[in-house]
Symmetry: C2
Subunit: 236 residues, 2 copies
């Protein structure tokens, strides 16, 4: 039986039917096993599960749930091997520099999937993209989003050479006023929740989202979803 997740594990896990189905549908080759509680055997989710995976992968266990401290009511846990991927060079990228909040990171993956952005670069240090909390916040979208880690933004740029738009409060351009790229060769770059991007990122394409001075800056996940939507649909 697996142990509760720690950062240095070579595995992680989903909890609940929906994220577990996302795992199975998108990364079946990484699936190790699925734990199911005995009382969920009668659920419709379990019947669907049987159609999707080889039943030798299914392990019945009632104490794994308390052991992992997963609060999920569905009583299903999907264990998978961590994996590395490269981004698709010819699609737009999202770059998060030093994201620190797992809830935000998962949320952002979910927004990316909603607007069909499938490639995420994460500049380390960052919070753990494989922590079950991140996976839960993403509602399993993490298995549809290609993710690649870089130790610096320069390393990212050296590899992918995208036109990039840093989001920062010091920018002069408002997002709704700029001309959005018509091709896919661009990256949207966002800084850490507390500190944002440092001044070295400031370029002619730097963007800010117009907002009232009566509130603090927008939450990171909110800023990202507004940018994804605007770059996708408002190519003025």
């Amino acid at each position: 039986m697996i142990k509760a997740y720690k950062k240095d594990c070579n595995y992680s896990y989903t909890a609940g039917f929906f994220p577990t189905f996302e795992l199975i549908n998108n990364k079946k080759d990484k699936l190790r096993c699925i734990y199911v509680s005995s009382n969920s055997k009668s659920s419709s989710g379990y019947l669907k599960l049987l159609q999707l995976v080889d039943n030798r992968k299914i392990i019945f266990s009632d104490n794994i749930f308390s052991k992992l401290k997963e609060k999920d009511n569905d009583h299903i846990i999907g264990v998978f091997d961590k994996y590395e991927e490269e981004l698709e060079p010819n699609l737009p990228h999202v770059v998060l520099v030093n994201p620190s909040d797992m809830g935000n990171l998962g949320n952002i993956m979910r927004s990316m999937l909603a607007f069909n952005y499938l490639d995420l670069a994460i500049i380390t240090p960052s919070c753990d993209r494989y922590n079950p909390k991140t996976i839960r916040s993403s509602m399993g979208a993490c298995f549809s989003i290609r993710q690649e880690l870089f130790s610096s933004f320069e390393d990212y740029l050296n590899k992918y050479r995208k036109e990039y738009f840093p989001f920062m409060l010091q920018a002069k351009n408002y997002m709704h006023e700029i001309k959005k790229p018509l091709d896919n060769n661009y990256a949207l770059v966002f800084g850490n929740e507390a500190s944002g991007l440092d001044i070295s990122y400031l370029n002619k394409q730097a963007i800010k989202i117009e907002q009232s001075d009566k509130v603090d800056s927008l939450n990171l996940a909110t800023a990202v979803v507004l940018a994804l939507y605007d770059f996708k649909f408002n190519k003025n």
Copy 2:
């Protein structure tokens, strides 16, 4: 000393310096008193507080914080009288039909303030706009947003007669394709988190936000912030 909040109290309270300053700056006439812990007397927030309010309104107490079970680290609580307001008829409105999640409701108020939408109609039944949780999620934006409750959407329309745009999955128009109103005589209408708007809301102006079928519908607070932004800045 006040008791922990319940829905039928005629008062509610903020926790923490930031929301308490929002209360003082926007609704000073509703302020009853401010509880401060003895050890926060040396903080910079306390010095600022002394400049903003009559010190007869300040009460030192160390056990009110455990009594109210407020986890706030700042150790300041601002008590205020609940109040009723009417909306400004000549500004755009946001209408939430039966919102059930206090975190979402507070979040939406914060997004409204960020994009300068100051008028919120709430169709009951709904979660409690005065619960300290809602106030905390709004980060005090609730004190800048006019709020008016209606027992039905018809009552709202009879009073304010706005052109309205219901957001619903059954709509035929994508938000990024429609012509946004150039005047302020409109309302953006959103349904309950789980059930959305029922079919009776469907009109020619009904809108949906284009998104991938790989994710569930967008979270209510996310849909609202996208709409506020798009109606504000993308008047194509």
